[in-house]
């Protein structure tokens, strides 16, 4: 589905990602792991179009999308839930969700996607008129994921879904992601909680120093005695 070749990306003159290759297959859940500063967020930002990709190619179903702006990539099916959630804090939950629909080709999809999101996260329906900035951390994360889902993505990328959340909330968020995965959504998640994500994902990649240093099926990585070594920067 997504095929990345020789990608270099970063801010200013600093390349946090250097000639990276990555393959994401349709329907799989790929977990991106690695120490702080490994370039995980830069990679997701580069794929979504927020961070300039200087070199290489990003092919989505064969078409190179490297030079497209974020809203045109979203229209082709790539959504990113950014680190820190980045909700429109002074707007209501419903307005935040509707803000996710601007790239929809068919406005008729709005209603259907809203129903789907509210089915996945019923609390968002209850809080529809609440100002997003006043939600709890877990609810904000649900709202951010919901906003991304409103665009009917085929590939959902999530940066640090569990950041700063209580274990119980983390569990329910992962249950929701597992449900999405079961329905056929392709997932690419960056996660610090390695055991948790490897319990759910199909495949894992460890990123270190802007390159992939370890890659394999989640079950194999889980038992790899070498895995922790890669997290010591």
């Amino acid at each position: 589905m997504l095929s990345v070749r020789g990608l270099s990306a970063g801010y200013g003159g600093l390349m946090a990602i250097r000639s990276l290759d990555l393959e994401v297959k349709a329907g799989e859940w790929l977990a991106l792991m690695g120490p702080v500063g490994a370039g995980k967020s830069t990679l997701l930002g580069g794929l979504a179009g927020l961070v300039a990709a200087r070199q290489g190619e990003i092919r989505l179903d064969g078409e190179d999308i490297r030079l497209l702006p974020p809203h045109r990539r979203l229209r082709r099916g790539i959504a990113l839930v950014p680190e820190g959630r980045r909700l429109f804090s002074g707007m209501t939950v419903r307005e935040n969700l509707m803000a996710g629909t601007h790239a929809l080709a068919d406005p008729g999809m709005r209603r259907r996607n809203l129903d789907r999101v509210c089915e996945l996260f019923p609390v968002l329906a209850e809080r529809a008129r609440q100002i997003a900035g006043t939600l709890s951390g877990g609810e904000q994360q649900m709202c951010a994921i919901g906003r991304a889902l409103m665009a009917s993505p085929r590939l959902l990328m999530i940066d640090e879904v569990t950041l700063g959340l209580a274990p119980l909330v983390v569990e329910s968020l992962f249950a929701a992601l597992a449900e999405l995965h079961r329905q056929g959504m392709t997932l690419l998640t960056v996660e610090q909680n390695v055991p948790l994500v490897l319990a759910h994902a199909d495949r894992g990649c460890v990123l270190s120093g802007g390159a992939i240093v370890l890659e394999g099926p989640a079950g194999v990585l889980r038992d790899d005695p070498d895995l922790p070594r890669h997290f010591i920067g």
Partner: protein, 293 residues
């Protein structure tokens, strides 16, 4: 007592006009952090377009007004898309210098096209007025007030109840998150500047009906818009209404005791007081987010 009531009423009518005028300035500042120093010149262009439409094309005022709005809307879109978007990512001083220069260019363009003569439309409404509770309301002022309030409500409806309004608000909160949500941010910026321009055009049309204007008169409108926005709080529609009313009333009250030449001085004194006592403006800085909970 009757006199004070009449003066307050005059202030409210003028304040409604100030509020509408300030909104075009406020939305651009609030959403894009651009202080548009050429705002007054855009108002003057609206006034000239209105005058030409009425005097040379023989159009009724009701048709000249949307024409003025369309002219400044288009101008706003092109300016933002072609020039200002290139500066959007840089320092606020860049955009400040840009709009300062733009203002000079527009003033001189107006001077070349229309000369420095002070113009006005032949009095459209005459001196006629009606009375409410013993207070006199001139038709001209009442019409300006009604159009200004209609524009204000229209902007409120646009921002809160349409997809474009949703995109504008989202962009004002977090441009990067807006990009990730599928919003074409440069296009939204251009439309925001265009909406600000359209409000300037309507303001200009209203100016043409009741006041005299010249290429250099624009500056005082920019200044008044600035005062109203800072008084009420940046990017808030209720703030612009309160700031506008306050300025209108205070200006009119001051004319009771002071020579009318002190009018602007009174406005700026009020501004200084608010800046000292409540620096974030009377309504705070909530951006275009006043949403019913």
């Amino acid at each position: 007592m009757q006199l004070v009531a009449q003066i307050v009423l005059n202030g409210v009518l003028l304040g409604g006009f100030y509020a509408c005028m300030a909104l075009g300035f406020s939305i651009v500042w609030g959403v894009m952090n651009v202080v548009n120093l050429a705002y007054g010149s855009m108002i003057m262009i609206g006034a000239y377009v209105t005058q030409m439409a009425v005097l040379q094309l023989g159009l009724p005022l009701a048709a000249a007004l949307p024409l003025a709005a369309l002219a400044t809307f288009t101008m706003g879109y092109v300016l933002q898309r072609a020039l200002l978007n290139r500066l959007a990512e840089r320092s606020v001083f860049m955009t400040l210098i840009f709009t300062f220069g733009l203002n000079m260019a527009l003033i001189n363009l107006n001077l070349i096209l229309f000369s420095a003569d002070v113009r006005s439309l032949p009095d459209v409404f005459g001196r006629a007025s009606f009375t409410i509770a013993g207070l006199s309301v001139p038709y001209g002022r009442a019409t300006i007030f009604a159009v200004a309030m209609a524009m204000t409500l229209g902007l409120h409806a646009l921002l809160n109840w349409t997809p474009l309004g949703n995109a504008i608000k989202a962009t004002s909160f977090d441009p990067d998150a807006a990009r990730l949500s599928g919003i074409d941010v440069p296009h939204v910026y251009a439309l925001t500047f265009a909406i600000g321009g359209a409000i300037a055009g309507v303001t200009g049309a209203l100016v043409a009906t009741s006041y005299s204007f010249s290429p250099l008169a624009g500056e005082s409108y920019t200044m008044k818009a600035f005062v109203v926005v800072v008084l009420g709080g940046l990017g808030s529609i209720p703030g612009a209404i309160i700031g506008g009313m306050l300025l209108g009333i205070v200006e009119n009250l001051a004319s009771l005791f002071l020579d009318s030449g002190y009018r602007d001085a009174v406005g700026f004194t009020l501004l200084l007081l608010v800046l000292i006592l409540r620096p974030r403006g009377l309504m705070g800085r909530r951006f275009f987010a006043e949403v019913k909970g």
